[in-house]
Amino acid sequence: MEEKMNKNDKRYFGEFGGQFVSESLMNTLKELDHSYEDAIHDEAFLKQYDYYMRQYVGRENPLYFAENLSREYGTKIYLKREDLNHTGAHKINNVIGQILLAKRMGKKKLIAETGAGQHGVAAATGAALFGMECMVFMGEEDMRRQELNVFRMKMLGAKVECVMSGSRTLKDATNEAIRTWAKTAEDTFYVIGSAVGPYPYPKIVKEFQSVISRESKQQILKAEGRLPDVVMACVGGGSNSIGMFADFIEEPSVRLIGVEAAGLGIETGKHACAMALGKPGTLHGMRSYLLQDEDGNIQIAHSISAGLDYPGVGPEHAYLKDSGRAEYVSVTDQEAMEALMELCRLEGIIPAIESAHAIAYARKQAKNMGEDEIMIVCLSGRGDKDVHTVADYIQSQK
């Protein structure tokens, strides 16, 4: 009877993952897993997903050789341009997949949580495209920081539910989405935006985001005739990074580096480094590394980037860290902002603050690399949504 946690349990990545949800959601998760497995082995479904990726999202997007950045730092730096997707970030890859699944399951309504608003915008966009009702949960603090995205979601016809509990950011928006889902699962599909949550969500999100590495691999082989030496992406919950890593995990010659947000600096306590300082625990239906206080309560994460200030991380990342397959590092708000400004000037690309974290670490990593070595950095989103934050930051530095 007791199904002990072990490596043969498909719901787990090593000791991480699982389904820490209320009893009333267990059949919902089972139904989701069956429907997903059925869909992902159905040619017609895959064809449909591929169609929307090409015709609607605008894939494949370029793997751009960042000439000037490469020259500046003395190694070959390629940027995977997820910022060029429709809606401006990688989030849409997963949303289209999940909504197609929701339709297949006969669900009429969607709910989603959002931090920076990119997943919320993607969900609102998909809901408009497929004619579904959509409610997006967003913390009050994030609504303030990402006003533009709030407006975009409303324009797209979604209802934005302001979450006033707890930290009023992504963590609590997720709590509220889970509560609403528990009430309405019968006709409502919960579109989770990151590689987090109870099984099978981390698996589903990874699958739909793995298009990032699938394309990158082919593109780099075409451009360079070989695999990259380093693949890098920022990590909040971990969706763009798991997508960026996916097809390289089985390639031992490729170093995988995830970049967390160190906020004001790890030593200040105001950061979002669940991997560096977190301990294993359970939140949002999963067991993973989490920032916790001495009583096991979840701590509030801090980052200038609304998309990275999440106190946990997806369970597969926790496993990749423990198994040593991937490395996790961090950069501060200041380092990210410097990298953001530099990318604007050197390459004419305004990255999202989230993605700027990966760029910031790429600059550090490049110093240890030779001229002929190759690094791919996931440019997960564009920075239009962040111009207010950037302006405030510049002002505060004067």
Binding site: E2, E3, M5, G18, S22, E23, S24, T282, L283, D295
Partner: protein
């Protein structure tokens, strides 16, 4: 020693009585006030008390208990202090079965072995963990396999369906039937097939069947009274206590009325 919950259930059955179970968040209005409220409820005839261990992210709870948890954490309540309170209550003669209602992370962080040890030492009779479904219970059940360890109270929901027999298989004490979908404190929002669902669980269960979530007055459970063995009240009691400055007298009055009315239904 026989578990206090099981002993109480046996006694209720002998007397042909329905159980009245309450929930209150530990640490409100403060530790001393919480103790006074526990004692008042025991005197009023409450059969089992669930003591809520506050957690930062109570996803199974509605706004009332969320807010109570938040306030209690702000006042410095933690698991260690609640164990301390339990020891005092037992030393001061409280005999009522007491169950911890908590989220898994709180026990996990404390360390499961140590958690069970403290439960035994302080007289905790059961634990209810709403974010720990059957499939994830292996680890804690291992830790609970000790003399005098608390019972892991199992929860079932209106959509548990074919899962019910598996859940009931090793269940002890009583089974907690959640009355509707969603979170605590949604009054008058019982599942549309509530009676059918409770009847099915009752048919399969060797242990008493309790109904909770969204109950305010004894009459709320009148339509199910022939099926269930008792009722659980949480959010409503918290609201009532808040409105009455956590006076033990308010708890006493409410609990003795409910218990009386429940057994007159």
């Amino acid at each position: 020693m026989e578990n206090r919950i099981e002993r109480k259930m046996k006694k209720l059955k002998e007397n042909g009585e329905k159980a009245f179970i309450t929930y209150m968040t530990a640490g409100l209005p403060d530790m001393a006030g919480s103790k006074a409220l526990v004692k008042a409820q025991e005197e009023a005839g409450t059969d089992v008390l669930e003591l809520g261990i506050p957690f930062s992210d109570p996803v199974a709870d509605g706004p009332v208990i969320q807010n109570a948890s938040y306030q209690s954490i702000q006042l410095g309540t933690n698991l260690k202090k609640v164990f301390g309170m339990m020891k005092e209550l037992r030393a001061e003669g409280v005999q009522m079965p007491i169950v911890f209602m908590m989220y898994y992370n709180t026990a996990l962080y404390f360390g499961l072995e140590q958690f069970v040890e403290e439960c035994i030492a302080s007289g905790v009779d059961g634990v209810i963990i709403p974010d720990l479904p059957l499939e994830e219970q292996g680890e804690i059940k291992e830790a609970l396999r000790r003399d005098g360890a608390p019972i892991l109270i199992e929860l079932v929901s209106p959509v548990s369906a074919e899962r019910v027999p598996r859940i009931l298989e090793g269940a002890r004490g009583f089974v907690y039937c959640v009355s509707g979908m969603g979170v605590t404190g949604q009054s008058g929002n019982f599942h549309k097939k509530i009676l059918h669902y409770l009847t099915e669980v009752k048919k399969m269960s060797k242990i008493p069947v309790m109904m909770g979530f969204g109950i305010e007055q004894a009459k709320d459970v009148a339509p199910m009274i022939d099926v269930i063995d008792g009722a659980i009240v949480g959010s409503h009691l918290i609201k009532l206590l808040e409105a009455n400055e956590y006076k033990p007298e308010a708890a006493r009055k409410y609990c003795s009325n409910f218990k009386k009315e429940l057994n007159e239904l």
